[in-house]
């Protein structure tokens, strides 16, 4: 009998993990970078790393089902004659017709309207479906200006000048040819079937001084009625917020790197921009330094999933949050009921992110007439409204437990962090200590 040395267990590299190896092989085979939808998928410091303290002897709570806890918020009161009044501090983020199907856009409008909140157009213009079914519709003003026109600008309830988004700060839009149907092509004044790579910079302004003049123009065109938002990706939140305020914004929208996109390079999504949690305190600080906190409203988006996330964002000084990916899931995106079809596409429910390919089994990120029939705008809108209601109730539950009669009375002092990273980013103490990394010289 021969003696065999005991074998070592096969060990895979943490650096060259299975995903990395598959990506190297894919790149070598195709010669093109990976394009996908959604936001950063890597593990990041997030709201899960924060906890509320609740009430005890030093703070007393409000009765859960009896005492009022206000959820309303007014956006755009700085300059606009007609600010947006929302019943809940959760709005629907901009997603384009083109990347989403018509029924999906209609469902977003229906759900938002049922919930007393706003929805937002996207890089593709305003459709009748969403205008007709959205009581309060924010019209995005993007570098591409696809479909931008005077009539729609005037029938919008607010205007959002999009400078960037969290998934790709510094990147432009991308809609590949397979999703350019006749209707999408007409709205964008482009031939059917060609790739649409939207510009990353606005065509007629650069920098904060120009932005100020651009905002003046938009106000003059709309007779100073509509709130003007400025949306930035989570790049330099302190300076971007300060410059947006200086340029005259009524509302600043900061989108962290978990915020989704219809399509961009995987390398961009995962490696450019900052986590949502890291963006909030610098943005709030900029508003406070300018004496504009609560005068210019701050909306934060990117990875908001439940009422706890909403409450934590508000406690850190945000006026409202925006949801995109979560709203799509509420409509039916990535639903396990389509698992067999996800498998045919080489993926699985919960991981499907090839939104740019237009073959979404759930009928949401597609322009295929047969697939989009799977979205019933009324039922999907109802699901979104249900979800928004649950998020609101959850946030109220937490706020009452912290003794707050308004969600907006939540404050950083209600929070602790579970990790040093989150403590530093959120500017709240590490749980069990009074240590805020970076404060008081430590």
């Amino acid at each position: 009998m021969t003696y065999r040395n005991p074998p070592t267990t096969p060990r895979k590299s943490a650096t060259f993990d299975d995903y990395t190896l598959s990506e190297i092989r894919r790149a070598a085979a195709t010669g093109i970078y990976d394009i996908r939808g959604a936001g950063a998928k890597r593990k990041l410091p997030h709201f899960d790393d924060l906890l509320f303290l609740g009430a005890s002897i030093s703070r007393y709570p409000l009765e859960g089902y009896r005492e009022r806890c206000d959820t309303s918020v007014v956006l755009g009161s700085r300059h606009a004659k007609k600010p947006i009044e929302l019943k809940i501090p959760i709005t629907i983020a901009g997603m384009s017709f083109g990347s989403l199907s018509g029924p999906a856009k209609e469902a977003l409008g229906r759900g938002a309207t049922l919930s007393g909140t706003s929805t937002t157009t996207g890089d593709g213009g305003m459709t009748e479906e969403e205008r007709g079914h959205s009581k309060q519709l924010v019209y995005q003003y993007l570098p591409s200006r696809y479909g931008m026109n005077l009539r729609d600008l005037r029938r919008a309830d607010a205007i959002e000048v999009v400078v960037g988004q969290g998934a790709k700060p510094g990147g432009g839009g991308m809609l590949l040819g397979q999703k350019i149907s006749d209707r999408v092509a007409e709205m964008r004044t482009l031939p059917k079937g060609i790739d649409q790579r939207s510009a990353s910079r606005h065509p007629d302004w650069t920098g904060p001084d120009d932005l100020e003049i651009k905002i003046l123009e938009l106000r003059e065109i709309t007779d100073w009625e509509k709130p003007i938002y400025v949306k930035v990706g989570g790049a330099r939140p302190y300076y971007d917020t300060a410059l947006a305020v200086k340029a005259g914004a009524d509302v600043v929208v900061v989108d962290g790197m978990q915020g989704g996109t219809a399509a961009t390079q995987e390398v961009f999504i995962e490696n450019v921009g900052q986590p949502t949690l890291a963006c909030i305190r610098p943005a709030v600080q900029a508003l406070q330094d300018l004496g504009m906190h609560r005068k210019v409203q701050l909306i934060v988006s990117g990875g908001i999933r439940n009422g706890a996330d909403v409450a934590k964002a508000l406690a850190l000084g945000v006026d409202a949050v925006s949801i995109g990916t979560a709203a799509l899931v509420a409509l039916g995106d990535n639903d396990p009921r389509w698992e067999a079809e996800y498998n045919e596409l080489g993926t699985t429910a919960g991981a499907y992110d090839d939104w740019h390919e237009g073959r979404d089994p759930a009928g949401i990120t597609t322009q295929d007439p047969e697939l989009m029939k799977r979205v019933d705008p009324v039922a999907a809108g109802r699901r979104l409204a249900n979800y928004l209601k649950v998020m609101t109730l959850e946030a109220q539950t937490i706020a009452r437990a912290c003794g707050k009669n308004s969600l907006h009375n939540l404050e950083p002092e209600d929070l602790v962090a579970l990790t040093i990273e989150a403590a530093a980013m959120a500017g709240v103490p590490l749980a069990g200590t009074n240590w805020i990394p970076g404060k008081n010289g430590f």
């Binding site: 200006r145 005077l150 007629d204 003049i213």
Partner: protein, 241 residues
């Protein structure tokens, strides 16, 4: 608004707005208040002195004469009005114009006619860089020269240049047509010289007529447009980006 500062006599006399005495807000609001069929069809703006956003978002077929030079975005999103600037225009004149016409008697700065969807923009002097950037159906006629990166990502419409064009003309162009009479410093990615066929000569003659250009023949121009090689991504074209 103080009545004494408005001259309003007969319907055929222009309604005069002196920006030394009235604000930009009052001017634009008065223009937006115009009802369809209003007989206040002639307007005159005095002392613009480089003001931004003069006569933006006008959606009635009125004539507006601006006596002097304007700042950014004059005539922005114009829908049907006829604006004449008796001076020069700052950046973004006629940006996103829907219809109507704008004539600049002097020169225009950057991004003239940016993203314009329709209508006619005539610049009797020169236009700076990025003229017609991302144009989407507008027609632009420049009597003089245009600067670099003009017609960048131009989607549709026509850009006519009686003089010369700067570097990278028509970079990443889609279906817009470019007609240049003088020299072109260089063409941008995917922009090529194209054959001038009868249909183009006729189209160009029509544009010259609409812009009031005389003594210039369409045959003196060269046509440029998209090679359409970048319409769908191909890794072997990556060097072009």
């Amino acid at each position: 608004m103080p009545a004494t500062t408005l001259s309003k006599t007969a319907a055929h006399d222009p309604r005069v707005f002196d920006l030394d005495q009235l604000s930009l807000r009052e001017l634009n609001q008065a223009l937006h208040n115009l009802a369809p069929g209003s007989n206040e069809t002639a307007w005159e703006v005095l002392n613009p002195k480089g003001s931004h956003s003069v006569a933006v978002g006008v959606d009635q077929p009125v004539a507006i004469d601006v006596r002097g030079s304007v700042g950014y975005y004059c005539g922005g999103m114009n829908s049907g009005s006829t604006i004449t600037v008796h001076g020069s225009a700052g950046p973004g004149v006629g940006e996103n114009m829907m219809s109507g016409s704008i004539t600049i008697k002097g020169d225009a700065s950057q991004y003239a006619g940016a993203t314009g969807k329709g209508g006619l923009l005539v610049i009797e002097g020169n236009a700076s860089s990025r003229c017609g950037i991302s144009m989407k159906g507008i027609d632009i006629v420049v009597h003089g020269n245009i600067g670099h990166m003009s017609a960048f990502m131009a989607q549709s419409g026509n850009l006519v240049v009686l003089g010369d064009a700067g570097d990278a003309l028509g970079d990443s162009i889609y279906e817009a047509r470019l007609f240049v009479r003088g020299k072109v410093d260089s063409l941008g990615a995917d922009c090529i010289a194209k054959e001038m066929r009868t249909e183009h000569l006729e189209l160009l003659q029509g544009l010259l007529d609409r812009a009031g250009v005389t003594g210039v023949k369409p045959s003196e121009f060269k046509r440029y447009g998209s090679a359409r090689t970048l319409y769908n991504f191909n890794i072997d074209n990556a060097d072009a980006y």
